[in-house]
Symmetry: C2
Subunit: 387 residues, 2 copies
């Protein structure tokens, strides 16, 4: 294969952007083979934009059976990610899936099984893994520079969303439509980076969600999560859509110092000897280890969605390594599901979560929903600078 014919399913905010990137030739080795959406205005847009160079489908079946595509980018509402990916794998197609992997881990696990069975190249759109800042955080942890992790803390509240944002799509911020709020929509990248940079998944979680506190929505708009890890470390993840100007600050304390990512800078407070060693040797009163504050140099910029698409295409064409293997999408979703579950049952949630219980409780939320959406008509928003 010398070039990959990519199909895009879902021409909402993200799918439209991806389609434009591929169509404009920005992804070497990829051509836009087909697009698919059910909405007439998106189909009209596609026909007008791509003229007769790209097949345009309003039927999922015809899209998958067209024979015009080798791989598919799934950019539909969250619930459809796993069933569409499973269908794609069954058709022998490679898959690049938008985040989150799905709404509940139960069918994301099935998606992962289908991927493995197919042997096709499966990637997740964790574009923030291309950010050299977070790559460096991971590097400093994986290489042992930071030492064993003691505490993680991420305050990520700088994705303000007004009521008008929620009113811009009828599916938004409903249990039936999106299956969640700030955890499932805004946070998946940070939840992924939280586990990817540290290499740690929580052992158990105790979370506190506020549902519709700042906005007239039925899902959560404000969350504090407390996590415990196997090695005894603790973590906190705080997010909200109701704060302005918001904060994005990720702190990781380790045995050899402390990392802080804030304002697009990475600072490493590095101890000359590990805290553990200092503690064993020190015999005085109030002393502490000598510490050096280091501005870690960061080179280049994140290649973002384009980078993930190129990485996926390269893996298909040349067998190169994936930066964001699709099977890893379940990790951040597992955390997200655990957060909801903990809040719903008002108690601890052990990991891995009880997937059946989560699924049942989610269905209950959908069934018992009394929320009436103010329908102002679905809009495709300009997503420059978000996600």
């Amino acid at each position: 294969m010398s070039e990959v014919r990519v199909g895009i399913i879902g021409l909402g905010n993200m799918g439209t952007s991806h389609a434009n990137q591929i169509f404009s030739g920005n992804i070497p080795g990829a051509v836009l083979g087909a697009v698919c959406d059910a909405r007439q205005d998106r189909l009209d847009w596609a026909k007008e934009t791509f003229q007769d160079q790209v097949e345009v489908y309003d039927s999922v079946e015809e899209f998958f059976n067209s024979g015009n595509i080798d791989g598919v980018i799934i950019a539909t509402p969250h619930y459809d990610h796993p069933p569409l990916a499973i269908k794609a794998f069954e058709k022998g197609l490679h898959v690049l899936c938008e985040k989150p992997a799905g709404v509940y881990t139960k069918n994301v696990r099935e998606m992962n099984e289908a991927a493995e069975k197919s042997g096709k190249v499966f990637s997740m759109m964790f574009n923030q893994r291309t950010n050299p800042l977070y790559q460096k955080v991971r590097d400093l942890i994986v290489s042992g520079e930071l030492g064993e992790i003691k505490r993680t803390n991420w305050i990520i509240t700088n994705w303000y969303r007004s009521q008008s944002y929620y009113d811009s799509g009828s599916w938004r911020a409903t249990w039936a439509g999106e299956g969640g709020g700030v955890m499932l929509n805004q946070s998946p990248h940070q939840l992924d980076l939280w586990q990817w940079t540290t290499g740690l998944m929580p052992k158990r979680v105790r979370a506190f969600c506020s549902f519709g506190k700042y906005r007239n929505i039925e899902v959560e708009d404000d969350v504090t999560t407390y996590a415990e890890y196997e090695n005894g470390a603790t973590g906190v993840f705080i997010t909200s859509v109701g704060e302005a100007p918001g904060t994005n600050r990720f702190e990781i304390a380790g045995d050899r110092g402390k990392l802080v990512v804030e304002d697009n800078k990475l600072t490493f407070w590095r101890l000359r000897v590990s805290e553990k060693q200092f503690n064993e040797e020190y015999k005085g009163g109030f002393g502490e280890p000598e510490c050096w504050k280091i501005d870690i140099p960061i080179h280049g910029h994140g290649t973002e969605h384009v980078g993930i698409m190129r990485n996926w295409i390269s893996a298909i064409l040349h067998g190169t390594e994936l930066l964001a293997p699709g099977e890893e999408g379940i990790k951040s979703l597992m955390i997200s599901n655990a957060v909801y579950l903990s809040s719903w049952i008002d108690n601890w949630v052990e990991m891995p979560i009880d997937e059946d219980l989560f699924y049942e409780m989610l269905q209950e939320k959908i069934k018992n929903s009394t929320y009436e959406k103010v329908d102002t008509g679905d809009k495709t928003l300009d997503v420059s600078g978000t996600h």
Copy 2:
């Protein structure tokens, strides 16, 4: 009265420092009338230092009955604060009490009642209330500049303590001796500032303490606390003695912006219109309120313990207002007690706490303690730069 004869009970780290300040004439209107301690080496030190200018007692009864003092500074181990204060009030003495107010709110409440009955001047050694940085935080909140509070977050982990610190006193870090760890010893000032600057006490608390995780002690050395306030705001308070170099960062998000205290600086991100108003008026997609980053000027330095002593003496002599009324000591202790209780019962704790339950559970901890202290001899540590 033209000058206050101050007695100091407890010549440990803090009491020694206070005695020196008064003896050296650094507190206008105060003279050191008497000191009291049970330990021979401290009595020897006092006699040698103060010669025959200050009465030195090894008996609490004689100290209180001496007639040589008008007011007393209590700087004994925590457990003794309320009973000694109550005794002082009964003797008609003014009281300045070291933090924390006590170990459990049950007898701190009795102390407050005794203070009220006596009509004497009662202050708490919340020396960090003299810090112009925190006074300005309080000012910006009380004056309405920040708007209604949405979230508070304090990471205060920059009080590293080695094992040798804990081994320096046999009473340290035991349920029987100190009655707590990092919450009760290191955190009282910050717990006080948390409520004093914001004017908010938690409505309920869910906390997660680790006991003896980093050090060979039986009390807590690492804590994450989640709090909910009456107005719907949430808060997090994180502290640890096992991290180096540690963090001291206090963030408060409000309807009109965000305050951050870090590195002895106060930054105010100020919204031109309140977030609430923006949200009501905005009709677009991803917009947010215009925000100005402001470096708030801070003038002067905290007068610290000396400032609180001067303030207390001035209140006695001239009836001026107390910066840290003694009755307010119960607030930070109430939070601290709630944190333990929540961790012990592994559940929510509503405020005000069940004081009897807390007292009973604390007694159980003391009774069931199997912890054997490595006794390396009590030492009076140089406390410059701490507390």
